[in-house]
């Protein structure tokens, strides 16, 4: 079985979401390709990701917003990053949730990757194959995630962190509406 997942979107089954994890790689080259637009994928910081479900919820939302024509950023892959972040500030979101040049692990999320063309290209650039997504739990920094999503101790008493994070991602525009500057 392949290490990555590729699933159809809940609302639009003809669109797919791919999530893959790479370990012990250098992100620099890959980031360059993404920034220049040579390859369209989303590069996420592994420390901010609890498991693939969190990424799926964000990607699911990004594809839905793309379909509805209400994206906040310029393309669906930057939108995945923005959806993942609880912040309303786009550059801040990219900074805290996007992979950095110095990162040695990276989560790759791809919308609508036909024949895994882009995933294969990512593997080629990184010179590695994706590893099992279950390894995400070793790489997640729960302290950092708790802080970034502002999850209180009260909430963690009743819920696990993943559910707390997932609800914030899905309800982001509703809870941040009218708060602070846009």
């Amino acid at each position: 079985m392949a290490a990555y997942i590729k699933v159809p979107h809940t609302l639009y089954p003809d669109k797919t979401i791919t999530v893959a994890l790479y370990r012990n790689v250098s992100c620099k080259e890959l980031r360059k390709s993404v920034m220049s637009g040579a390859i369209e994928v989303s590069l996420l910081k592994t420390s901010m990701v609890i498991d693939e479900f969190q990424v799926l919820v964000a990607a699911n939302k990004a594809l839905h917003l793309q379909h509805a024509g209400t994206m906040m950023t310029k393309n669906v892959h930057s939108e995945i990053l923005f959806c993942l972040s609880p912040s309303k500030n786009i550059s801040e979101s990219f900074q805290s949730f996007g992979a950095a040049d110095s990162d040695t692990n990276v989560v790759v999320a791809i919308a609508d990757d036909q024949d895994d063309e882009r995933l294969d290209k990512v593997s080629e650039i990184l010179g590695k194959s994706p590893v099992a997504l279950t390894e995400l739990s070793e790489l997640a920094d729960t302290k950092l995630i708790t802080k970034a999503y502002k999850v209180s101790a009260d909430e963690l008493n009743s819920y696990d962190l993943r559910d707390a994070v997932v609800s914030r991602i899905s309800a982001k525009e509703i809870i941040t509406a009218g708060k602070g500057k846009v």
Partner: protein
Amino acid sequence: MNNKTLLKQGAEARLFKADFYGRPCIVKERFKKNYRHPTLDNTLTAQRLKSEVRANLRCRMAGILTPTVYMVNFENSSIYMELVDDAITVREHIAGVQEQDRSTANDVLKPLAVKIGQTLSKMHENNIIHGDLTTSNMLLKGEPSDVKLLLIDFGLSSFEASAEDKGVDLYVLERAFLSSHPNTQQLFDCILKSYRESTKNKKSCAEIISKLDEVRLRGRKRTMVG
């Protein structure tokens, strides 16, 4: 849409069961009401969708259990949320216990009443008004020894600090409670007692209870003078 099956049809929305990336989920879809003016209908539907999600989140942040929201679709006003496994409504639970033995029902249900009081106290302390408190909008899950209470259906919720709104919230529950479950005045008093004991701010709590007494006399609607 992947295998949506209709679970329930209410006055406001339809509930479907579906799958969300491997997790069973509930889709709550608010439908158009043709008897309402389209502009009003759209405004009300959008408002209720938003307040439902907002109150759900605020409750969670206060440590009150609610179903996890997976996705909000503004296009057709639907919410995708966690399907709470093996949960029954408080309404079903009370009816079941009463059916078994009416004479001991109130004693058996007492711990539940205490829990309801504590939960509502916590909710009101965070200035969340549910707006539609009934025993059908409370779910129970888990083992009988460690039963968990979830609040659902926040479509009519609002955020108010006033004793009036909190009093009305309790009054709505009292009416729903007594009309759906016979001989439960004692049980409702038990909820109020626990509510009073759990609320830290005694002064505001006394105010809420006195508002409740006031509302009982005049009904839910405020007298409009001037």
